[in-house]
Amino acid sequence: MQQTLQRLPLSPGADYNAFMARAQAIKDERLAEAIPKDLLVPKAWRGLLGFVISYALYAGAIVGVAYAPHWALWVPLWLVAGLGGWGLHCIAHDCGHNSFSRSKTLNVVIGHLALLPLIYPFYAWKHVHNLHHMHTNSLEMDTDWRPLSRAVYKRLSLWDRIVYMGTRSWAFWAGTINYWVVSGIRPGFFPKKSMRVQAWLSLAFVLLVLAGYTAALVHFTGWTGVLLYFVAPWLATHAWFSATTLMHHTTNELPFLASNDWNPNASRLLLTTDYVYPKWLLFLTHNISIHTAHHVLPIVPFYNLPKAQAALKKAYPGMLRERRFSFATLWRIVRDCHFYDERTGYYVSRSEPDEGFPAGHTASLAARD
């Protein structure tokens, strides 16, 4: 076991130093004050409208699969069902942050119902998502899409290497299935007993509904129906979930920060990439891609995020990172963003030559999650 830790990154370049200068400049800012307080007020009817629209899209596309005149229509319909399921996740996301409604009961009820297409236990998702907010792009502590160095990767078991590299390349669409296995259906993941109890309760609810729904599907449509009307839309929902969350915080133009350099304000304002979607997609994903304002102030309801983002851009010009969404960008991420580079602090591709660094600081970061 190594006893001394080196400061990471080992040899930061001009990009990293420029980033850290910006991170230091905003370190003590009260970022949330840039967002007008009236934008924090939830309108439950607007949230419920989003919930109904996304469930209708999910169910409508599945009915479409059942009545499709040709199997070639199944894949596009599954993707539409997945968009509905992903939109429902985005509604549950507001519930998890208590920005759906002022009523905690309504947040919990809608949150549980909205995560059913993903069979994701709401409380487990809520707690792990809060950990992501507390530790965004922290090399040691983030719970979502946290990269490993090549040295750590090499010490993983074969299965863990397949999962890690698969979900960062050809199987990126299944990345959130991995997180679901790690923290969604494993209440022991959470440090507080109250969190573990809640995660068990949500898990029991999900399993109960799943058992009933599967039995009904088998009865009326057979096991083929389970695959066509439940498993395939579940996979498609994860594909939306994975692609979106991967893109929010993964790029080789932004670093992951070790604890010596990480600070909360930088994690909120500087380490997210907002993707500009066409209006219809923004509507059906409930503004999830307007993400920096969400990290600065998670209590802002989704329908107020455009205004909150505009206020933030005005207060901190040039600080937010916005890009137009393209599949080419997604392709570049899965091609280039594989390992944490201990020299630079940025992502490096597996096709880059192996510098043969010892495991060092990140040696122990592999196993726990």
Binding site: M1, Q2, K104, K193
Partner: protein, 110 residues
């Protein structure tokens, strides 16, 4: 974070699944040090009295997998997510305890 209040009925059933809560004693440097001593003694199958809190974890032959397990178990005691690299950064029971006391603003003794 909402707290689960009741312990009867269905909720009580699920509370059993929640596993061990932190000890009733308020968290302090002494509680953490004592927990680490017992955890290490259990790991090494030696009496707790044989554990030197100033000796490095490496001198006890702890490998990185055990270090990660210990930091995972320690999370349940302090009820916070901790860096799995913690036992690398603070390499003895004393160093780790002092770090947690400072970081979590705990008293040295309850």
């Amino acid at each position: 974070m909402e707290q689960v209040q009741s312990s009867g009925g269905l909720l009580g059933f699920f509370k059993k699944f929640g596993g061990e809560a932190k000890p009733a004693e308020p968290l302090s440097g002494a509680v953490i040090r004592d927990w680490l001593v017992r955890r290490l003694a259990k790991q090494l199958s030696v009496p707790a009295s044989e554990i030197d809190t100033s000796a490095s974890f490496a001198s006890y032959g702890l490998d990185s997998l055990v270090a990660v397990q210990v930091s995972g178990d320690l999370e349940k005691l302090v009820e916070q997510r901790l860096s799995p690299a913690l036992l690398f950064e603070y390499s003895s029971i004393d160093a780790l305890t002092n770090h947690l006391v400072a970081e979590l603003r705990l008293p040295e003794t309850a």
